[in-house]
């Protein structure tokens, strides 16, 4: 069969059937004032050679800076085998297939991925991925509203220690569907949800609480107490987690007495390069009792009519091609390639390898913060344990200092003042296993210089 959508004869016969003279005539009802004849400000098309040259010139402007920014996306070493395998023709597709069972290899890969994510988060079921961690939080809140049928309020408690961009995205995804997001303040000394913050919600109808661990400041929340508090009040718990950290920290499925209900997060740390902000992928796992409310799809292992093992889409009856407007979400995911990379990454690393990455990142961050707070004018912002990220306070505004560092080839961290102005000049800094002691020393020396310059100016 030829893939020619419609010939000129087809178009003419279709137009004749509806009594219209030309395709142009179909647009007649749009007023001329709203129609644009040509795009302005868009240059002429360039050839492949010209584009290639332009892009390599632009890429050169980025340089190869030493990156100490985390804040949701983390630079980890990616073994060369990960993308060599992920880009093989057999795997090279962005999609989880619609004609799924014809692609047994893809389904097996997703099945292995789900098994790994369920195991990593300590929960029973995993879907086949979401777009990213931020939209994952929105999806998890919508899922919690569907799953918590004893709550009518659709109120979601979101501590301000949850990534601010995740909070904004969740509100954008779910805010127009009647969900009410209520922010919980954090303790400015510890950078965590203070134990007393929840007391005022006792006796109120709350649907779910979102808890990020480690939180946006890299600090560890008292997840056991928070989880038990929520469950005692019929509040579902949405955990937002960093997958690398789960090699060391207690998985959401073991938080408190009962464990979190839903876990989501960004899968980027698992073999996906930073690549200027994406594409990444989101993951979602949950307790079995909530599986019917989960967005996306689940691949299962089964036997065919002849008794042979095979893989199949087990859960998809609530997806949009079946449930239309009443689907659990409009997500079927086109993050398949990134999931493939993550699955290869996890299988190459194994539990011991992932633990070494997590432990090395934690150790490097301690070393980094230890070196930075010896710089005059720099102090640690919060006391208490952290994973691989910490906030530091500066005695000069952060933005100009970061600019000076960038000029020295160092991305010095995230300026916290945009989202947390109450903290004063502060940076969120991160070091992973990719940083050496020499890198850390270089950053500390450069920071001392930049602060000196800033004071002198």
């Amino acid at each position: 069969m030829a893939f020619i959508p419609h010939t000129r004869e087809d178009v003419e016969s279709m137009l004749a059937a509806i009594g219209v003279g030309s395709i142009e005539q179909l647009f007649d009802e749009i007023p001329a004032s709203l129609r644009l004849a040509a795009l302005s400000g868009v240059p002429e098309a360039a050839s492949e050679m010209e584009i290639g040259r332009l892009m390599s010139e632009r890429a050169r402007l980025d340089g190869r800076p030493l990156c100490f920014i985390g804040a949701g996306a983390y630079e980890h070493h990616i073994p060369a085998a990960v993308w060599a395998i992920a880009t093989r023709g057999e795997f090279y597709s962005a999609y989880t297939p619609y004609q799924a069972e014809a692609s047994q290899g893809t389904l097996q890969l997703l099945y292995e991925y789900q098994t790994m994510m369920a195991s990593l988060t300590g929960l029973e079921v995993s879907n086949a991925s979401l777009y990213d961690g931020a939209s994952g939080v929105g999806e998890a809140c919508l899922m919690a509203v569907r799953a918590n049928r004893r709550s009518r309020s659709q109120r979601i408690l979101v501590p301000t220690t949850v990534n601010p961009l995740y909070r904004r995205t969740a509100a954008a995804v779910a805010g127009n569907q009647g969900l009410v997001f209520e922010e919980l303040p954090y303790c400015t000394e510890e950078g965590c949800i203070p134990p007393g913050a929840l007391a005022r919600y006792d006796g109120q109808d709350v649907t779910a609480i979102v808890i990020q661990q480690p939180n946006f400041f890299g600090r560890l929340e008292d997840v056991d107490t928070l989880c038990d508090w929520a469950h005692a009040r019929n509040i579902l718990v949405v955990a937002v987690v960093n997958p690398t950290s789960l090699a060391l920290l207690k998985p959401p499925g073991q938080w408190g007495t009962k464990g979190a209900d839903i876990a989501v997060g960004d899968g980027q740390p698992l073999g996906v390069p930073l690549s200027s902000g994406g594409p990444y992928f989101g993951f979602m796992t949950a307790r079995m009792e909530h599986v019917r409310q989960m967005p996306g799809r689940i691949v299962g292992r089964t036997l065919d009519a002849a008794g042979r093992a095979g893989f199949t889409l087990t859960l998809q009856a609530r997806e949009q091609h079946i449930r239309r407007a009443k689907a659990t979400s409009n997500i079927c995911t086109n993050q398949g390639l990134l999931v493939t990379a993550a699955t290869v990454y996890l299988s190459l690393m194994g539990p011991a390898g992932l633990e070494r990455v997590a432990a090395a990142s934690h150790a490097r961050t301690r070393e980094l913060v230890g070196a930075l707070i010896r710089v005059p004018g720099v102090r640690r912002l919060f006391r208490g344990p952290a994973f691989h990220e910490e906030a530091i306070a500066l005695d000069r505004p952060a933005a100009p200092v970061l600019e000076k560092l960038t000029a020295r080839g160092i991305l010095g961290g995230l300026d916290l003042s945009e989202h947390y102005p109450e903290l004063g000049p502060a940076l969120l800094v991160c070091a992973t296993e990719t940083k050496t002691s020499a890198d850390i020393e270089r950053y500390a020396n450069a920071l001392a210089e930049c602060l000196r310059e800033a004071r002198a100016a």
Partner: protein, 131 residues
């Protein structure tokens, strides 16, 4: 030919209604509906105490091929939902008018089932739909 008991009332959306001796009504999906859906694997039923208006979706039945809403035939308050469905949703396939009931409802106002279809009318409807 679908089974359409004459002692029940029906809706266009393929629910059946049985009036019980205490004045409450029992609601389920018809034999025709379960047949069209295929093997049922899950039924999401309402909590007791929920107030429903006529035509409001109150349950979701999910088969191997689709998930469909079930609509309340009349207004009222849910008094019970079928606890057996969580473990054995397939009883909706095997016994749509008996063990496969979905919920019991206390009707708001009097004589609520008069507006519903008789078995004869429902039989005609599914015949027209090709069932």
């Amino acid at each position: 030919m679908s089974n359409v008991p004459t002692d029940l009332k029906y809706t266009k959306t393929h629910e059946w209604v049985r009036t019980l001796s205490d004045g409450t009504v029992e609601v389920g999906i018809t034999d025709h509906a379960q047949h069209a859906l295929g093997d049922l694997v899950f039924a999401e039923v309402p909590e007791a105490g929920r107030k429903l208006s006529a035509g409001e979706p109150f349950a979701v039945v999910e088969s191997v091929k689709a998930a469909s809403d079930v609509y309340s035939p009349i207004a009222g308050e849910v008094t019970a939902s079928n606890p057996a469905l969580a473990a054995a949703p397939e009883v909706i396939n095997s016994d749509a008018y008996g063990k496969g009931w979905l919920m019991r409802l206390r009707p708001a106002g009097g004589a609520p089932t008069a507006a519903l279809m008789s078995a004869e009318e429902y039989q005609k409807l599914i015949a027209e739909e090709g069932g």
